[in-house]
């Protein structure tokens, strides 16, 4: 099957407008006859559900949490990009497009990214109209901050809780439609399979997580907005429940999985403290606006710090190595995430890590506190040389900007980041890879769509900060509602999809037998035992840097672990009740398949690009070495076992941007 | 508007409005009583005025009685409904960690005050009504001070009054600011109100206690 990305003809900047003008529409009376299932209620799923319901479709919305408001988009901290150019610093749709393609290391699809940049401004308008309380300046205008990998300030934010506020905005729009009866909400429900009838996605099988009941739901189209699969690494900044199950089941039913190895390791997370660790906490990238990253220059200082004999604030300025500023003077601490993460790993691998495990670097706010303090002292007419006054004023500013993050850090680490530098280390944070979609956001299964982090299209090999929120909302508010109409316009005479067909029977039986197998397995080890093992393999062999030998080992180790899982997993309780272990088991079973495909994809991609760094392909300075012959999207087709997956290539063409070495020096 | 009065917030507001009225009444009551400490004549004059003025007797008095009855009936209704909202009780609950004793026990301080009001009615109000409207005895504008002193002779009554006033103080200690909060007063003013509330809830009961003790020891 040849991949058809369905990118419209015409010049880049007119593609979307021209396309919208020509696609089929469904008239309002007919929309009432059409059902759409949306799985996931994060920014993408929530905004899509609300918008489609506003348009008149009957929407059924599913989430595994107890309320749509709890989807993990809520945890996004820093902000959302939009090419508003409110700061007048030279931003434009093209520049946002350019930064995103370059940031993604030239592995994303030009037309999609341009469309994303184009609709970005509408998102801000829409959210403000919904009552999202973005930060404002004293004149009452919207404020912006800067994020990694760009030279303009285009990030809109609501304290360190931008994701929360945007999600609550989408949730409020959903609530309005739930109240009107246009969205039927199924919370505490997990999708366990997609049902294909006559080659089209026509419904899902879902499990009611409270009663354990298996339910059939039909629709004319199914939209997956189920997020990323970073929890394959066990430890990540994802929520505990984030999983790949919906996407993986879709993959098994014919949706190609694209670039699974493109995973973002975020540079500023709180380091692991011990074996008990269940999840990692992000410290927003926005902190790099004001924080300076360093490790000691001298090994004796490192050792003294680890033994507790020396405090970081006692190390003199000249004995600190601000390695990002040293290596990348142009972007300094604001290099893109992949670059910052690898640089931290490089220092720690060289032995300069500053905590007991040797896997932490400092993020220091002392300079910012002093700078802001002096500024404030000047404004207030106080003595700029009085250290106490300056420090106090400076801390107040830092508190206003990042107070909630600092509090979060202090609660977890038990150190006061106003007084001593934070310790940070990279952690798995986002997956650029995902289900392959065409320009319409439709997968290789007709009628099956994937939006938000669940798809692959916009971020290439590395996502820039504050772009995930933008993409989720762009897909849900402004792209899918148009493109899905084109598809659904052929379904106005179809009528309701029956759920008593043999396809539904088969899918339900498959789901049930799978659950029975798990619950009756009576093995030796808990689900977490296997999940942690998988995480270790993934982190050690498919993590921040990869090589052929490790990846080959990972492939066979994951396959072995999967066999062991099915032989030895133990799940207490029954299938017809609330049973978190059973739900977890299903998710880990899918991670164990995805993990292998992940490693296979990483092995196949013999280049370094963005978050995918192969030891074999680096420049003499240790930077990523992209290879022209890999300028394509790897879309994998399921063929029974992950190892048998078949590769399809979507060649990437860049007509509006010059592909060059990605330099942040 | 009728919807408002049926809503939880409407009931709160009604509770607060009746509280305002009662707090104003307390202020007046304590002022007149204080006169008894300084001058028997002044007290008699004021009491005579209150006892015979038709505006006070036939307009203010019924409103006051309605206010009192409304406040405690509504208090009971709210308490009952709130208990129903609780569901199963916690095995371990540490209320003291986040709220004051006064605020959590308004129903109990309220009940003591209610018991006190009954005693107070038996002591003063029923004899008054009997005197004026049932037996229709001749009015003696100087009788009030003597009656007051007479009532505070037995120690048990003084003790009951003192205990009740302490409970009243606790009730007011939360009730004063709570009423303003229910009325939606803004955070900026709340600070000042908190101080005024503290002063009010200490001074008023103290003054009543002082009057009771004063007459107990000075007759």
């Amino acid at each position: 099957m040849a991949l058809n990305s369905r990118i419209p003809e015409g010049p880049l900047k007119d593609k979307w407008t021209t396309y919208k003008d020509k696609i089929n529409l469904v008239n309002p009376a007919n929309k009432r006859l059409i059902d759409v299932i949306i799985v996931g209620t994060g920014l993408a799923g929530g905004s899509a559900a609300a918008t489609l319901a506003e348009l008149g479709y009957n929407v059924k919305s599913f989430c595994f949490q107890d309320s749509p408001r709890r989807a993990h988009s809520i945890a996004a901290q820093g902000g959302i990009n939009a090419a508003k150019n409110y700061q007048g610093d030279g931003d434009s749709t093209y520049r946002l497009f350019y930064d995103t393609v370059k940031g993604g290391d030239y592995r994303s699809r030009e037309a999609n990214v341009y469309r994303l940049a184009e609709v970005s401004t509408n998102i801000i308008d829409q959210c403000v109209a919904q009552g999202v309380p973005f930060a404002r300046d004293y004149g009452g205008l919207l404020d912006n901050r800067s994020f990694g990998g760009v030279l303009v300030s285009r990030t809109f934010y609501a304290k360190g809780q931008t994701g929360q506020q945007l999600l609550l905005g989408a949730y409020s729009a959903m609530n309005r439609q739930i109240g009107r009866g246009k969205i039927k909400m199924y919370s505490r429900h997990e999708m366990l399979d997609v049902v294909i009838v006559d080659g089209k996605a026509r419904g899902i099988i879902a499990r009611n997580l409270v009663t354990g009941e298996i339910e059939r739901h039909s629709a004319h189209a199914v939209v997956l907005a189920t997020g990323g699969y970073g929890n394959a690494f066990y430890l990540s900044t994802y929520a505990m429940g984030s999983n790949v199950t919906a996407a993986w089941k879709a993959h098994k039913k014919g949706a190609f999985f694209a670039n699974p190895c493109f995973t973002q390791i975020h540079p500023t997370c709180i380091p692991v403290s011990g074996d008990h660790q269940s999840k990692l906490t992000l410290m927003s990238e926005s902190l790099r606006n004001d924080g300076r990253i360093w490790v000691p220059k001298n090994m004796e200082d490192v050792l003294a710090i680890r033994e507790g004999k020396l405090k970081p604030i006692d190390i003199a300025e000249e004995n600190r190595d601000y390695y990002l500023e040293r290596r990348y003077p142009a972007f300094g601490n604001l290099v893109p995430r992949d670059v910052a993460s690898r640089a931290a790993k490089e220092r720690c691998d060289a032995g300069y890590g500053v905590n007991k495990t040797g896997e932490a670097v400092y993020l220091d706010f002392a300079a910012a506190i002093e700078r802001y303090g002096k500024e404030q002292a000047h404004v207030k007419g106080l003595d700029e040389n009085d250290k106490a006054v300056v420090t106090k004023l400076g801390k107040d500013i830092i508190k206003a900007k990042y107070g909630n993050l600092f509090q979060m850090y202090e609660k977890i680490v038990d150190q006061n980041p106003y007084e001593t530098p934070m310790m940070i280390y990279p952690a798995v944070h986002y997956t650029m890879g995902g289900i392959w979609v065409d320009y319409n956001l439709m997968t290789t299964v007709p009628g099956l769509y994937a939006i938000g982090e669940a798809n692959f299209s916009d971020h290439g090999a590395n996502r820039l900060g504050a772009s995930a929120l933008m993409q989720g909302l762009a897909d849900g508010y402004f792209v899918l509602p148009y493109t899905i109409g084109d598809y659904l316009s052929h379904d106005i005479r179809t009528g309701p999809i029956p759920t008593d067909s043999k396809e539904f029977d088969e899918a339900e039986n498959q789901v049930k037998s799978n659950l029975d197998k798990l619950i009756n397995n009576n093995g030796k080890y808990s689900v977490d035992y296997f999940h942690k093992k998988l995480g270790k393999i993934m982190w050690n062999k498919c993590g921040m840097s990869r090589n052929a030998k490790d990846l080959k080992e990972a492939i066979s180790e994951i396959a072995e672990l999967r066999a062991e899982f099915w032989k030895d997993v133990k799940i207490p309780g029954g299938a017809n009740e609330y049973n978190e272990e059973l739900a977890k088991a299903g998710r880990v079973a899918d991670f164990l398949e995805l993990g292998e495909l992940f490693a296979k994809d990483a092995l196949q991609r013999e280049e370094s690009a963005g978050g995918h760094f192969r030891d074999e392909y680096q420049t003499p300075e240790g930077e990523a070495m992209r290879r022209k012959e890999f300028q394509y999207v790897s879309a994998w087709e399921y063929k029974g076992e992950p190892k048998d997956a078949v590769l399809h290539k979507e060649e990437l063409e860049y007509e509006n941007i010059e592909v060059k070495e990605r330099s942040y020096k | 508007m009728s919807g408002f009065l049926k809503s939880s917030i409407g009931r709160k507001v009604a509770m607060a409005l009746s509280a305002f009225f009662l707090m104003f009444f307390l202020l007046m009551h304590v002022s007149i009583n204080l006169l008894s400490v300084f001058s028997a004549d002044a007290f008699n004059t004021a009491s005579h005025f209150m006892g015979t003025n038709w505006l006070v007797q036939f307009i203010m008095q019924p409103i006051l009685i309605f206010g009192v009855v409304f406040h405690f009936v509504m208090g009971f209704i709210l308490e009952f409904r709130n208990k129903k909202s609780n569901g199963i009780a916690y095995v371990k609950n540490n209320g003291a960690a986040n709220s004051s004793w006064m605020s959590r026990n308004m129903i109990y301080s309220g009940l003591v005050i209610l018991a006190f009001i009954l005693l107070h009615f038996i002591d003063f109000w029923f004899p008054e009504i009997n005197h004026k409207y049932i037996e229709v005895l001749p009015e003696d504008p100087t009788r009030y001070f003597g009656e007051l002193q007479h009532k505070f002779t037995p120690l048990w009554r003084v003790a009951a009054y003192v205990v009740s006033f302490i409970l009243l103080g606790l009730h007011l200690g939360h009730g004063f600011t709570s009423a303003f909060q229910s009325m939606g007063v803004t955070a900026g003013r709340k600070k000042t109100l908190k101080t005024i509330g503290k002063v009010y809830s200490i001074i008023i009961p103290l003054a009543f206690i002082f009057i009771a003790l004063y007459h107990h020891f000075n007759h």
């Binding site: 709890r70 930060a135 609530n175 309005r176 109240g179 | 409904r81 569901g87």
Partner: protein
């Protein structure tokens, strides 16, 4: 450290439920409270017992899923955090810890420590939104100026995570802090003022319908709220409802 846990176990909504004692050894002070429960659950699974069911998801204090009444307090002894942010260094070796689900008639128990908070969703569905359809043509985001103070105050209200600690800790099981926060967020913004009267009326009516109790201004909710939502929001809701009714 070693701890004794007294945990509410309840098989399902119809079960009566009871407190069951558990012992955990080897608790590290750096563990989060939920990680301590993970250790206990691992133990229970190893012993072929059913693990304790509790709600949790993001484990960074923002999703609002975790909900436990620990030693008589919502989200445990610390303030301004959720259970997932509570660390074991807040306890001492040998401590006995009571762990119970949120209690309120409007929050029925689903299993063990998990309660049904869908009442909160329904209150929001009654009016917790601004009626604006998605379109590419809404007014420019800077078209209406909003004072920094109003935006910041709205943000403070909007920071509510809907965890339900306010209800759980309230002696009246009142949801007014939650509803007040949502009403306030919109009332403070010009975009929200157009349908402010209907919104507050409908949300309060739904809140009452769900069976939440009445606020008696004890202030417990404000103390226990992990996000520091203040009583001012309740006062504002009261004002808004009075305004809407008169």
């Amino acid at each position: 450290m070693k701890l004794t846990l007294k945990i509410w176990r309840q098989k399902n909504a119809n079960d009566k439920g009871k407190i069951v004692d558990y012992k955990v050894d080897d608790v590290s002070p750096d563990m989060s409270f939920l990680e301590m429960l993970d250790v206990l659950n691992q133990d229970l699974i190893d012993k072929n017992e059913e693990p304790i069911a509790f709600d949790h998801d993001c484990r960074e204090g923002i999703c609002g899923m975790c909900s436990m009444y620990i030693n008589g307090r919502a989200h445990g002894p610390d303030t301004s955090i959720t259970v997932c942010q509570l660390h074991m260094r807040s306890f001492k070796d040998g401590d006995t810890i009571y762990i119970e689900p949120w209690r309120a008639a409007a929050f029925p128990v689903i299993k063990d420590l998990i309660v049904d908070r869908s009442a909160f969703d329904r209150i929001q569905q009654a009016g917790g939104f601004i009626s604006v359809n998605t379109s590419g043509n809404t007014q420019d985001a800077n078209g209406t100026l909003i004072s920094k103070h109003a935006a910041d105050t709205a943000m403070d209200a909007a920071t509510c995570i809907g965890c339900g600690a306010c209800v759980a800790t309230c002696k009246n099981s009142s949801a007014m802090l939650f509803v007040g926060a949502k009403v306030s967020q919109y009332a403070l913004l010009p975009q929200g003022q157009i349908e402010a009267a209907d919104r507050v009326r409908n949300m309060v009516a739904q809140m009452d319908l769900e069976g939440f109790g009445n606020c008696t201004n004890t202030g417990a909710c404000e103390v226990e709220c992990p996000k520091g939502i203040t009583l001012e929001n309740i006062a504002r809701m009261n004002r808004e409802l009075m305004k809407a009714s008169i």
